[in-house]
Amino acid sequence: MAEWQGAETKILESTLDSVDRAETMVLERARVLGFDEGDLQELGIAVRECMVNAVVHGNRYNVKKSVRLCLDSAPDRFTVTITDQGNGFELHAVPDPLADENILRQSGRGILLVQAFMDEFEVRTLDPSGTEVRLVKYRRAKTEQE
């Protein structure tokens, strides 16, 4: 079966609607690539968390700023890159949501979920501004039994 290879980039507004759009786009591509329902759920949550970070914490809903979503598939992996135009953040500065003193905090679990669900997760602060997060899900070869 022919499948959709290569990269595709979309520029999205800094709104919560863009979170839904990004999730839909990623899941459409992931289905074509043959990811199973479990992988799709994990991808969906990871993309939502990163898009929310970009729109809410990065761009702070600023209509003059946008979020760049790039989807890139290769035979062994599916890569999603999300770039905002905010002030950036340090991954190590995020409080540990599993620490006893933080367990009842209302927020701060997004990055934890992304790390749990993706095979690779990288955060890069851009010069002069912006944050780029790269999410990778490996494409596993199907076995005879599948």
Partner: protein, 114 residues
């Protein structure tokens, strides 16, 4: 689809039946409003039925935690019922299984409030 919430009374326990997705935006704010409304009306025994919740993000998890503390701060108890596999996974990853009391049978869950 966002979340649809309905409440019903089983004895002196209020059951919230949630259907859909609890995510940042309408879903999480609807859940927050429902719990605050219940607490304001004096309902202190709350059971959240998540059997029909297909999807929950970190914001939704945060609302569950906030609901738990809101009810507890009023001297009440909030418990969870019928978690799907995905929600179970999320509670494991976030260590919130150590916080929430989780049940699989509604009648048995209601009895634990006594």
């Amino acid at each position: 689809m966002s979340v649809r919430l309905t409440t019903r009374q089983v004895g002196d326990v209020t059951v919230i039946d949630a259907v859909g997705r609890i995510t940042l935006g309408e879903g999480s704010s609807a859940f927050r409003d429902t719990v605050r409304d219940l607490v304001a009306k004096g309902n202190k025994r709350v059971l959240v039925n998540l059997a029909e919740v297909s999807y929950i993000d970190s914001s939704g998890i945060g609302e569950l935690v906030s609901a738990f503390t809101t009810v507890a701060n009023q001297g009440g108890t909030l418990k969870l019922l019928n978690l799907g596999k995905r929600v179970q996974d999320l509670l494991q990853i976030t260590k919130l299984y150590t916080v929430f009391e989780v049940h699989e049978d509604e009648a048995a869950a209601v009895r634990t409030f006594a």
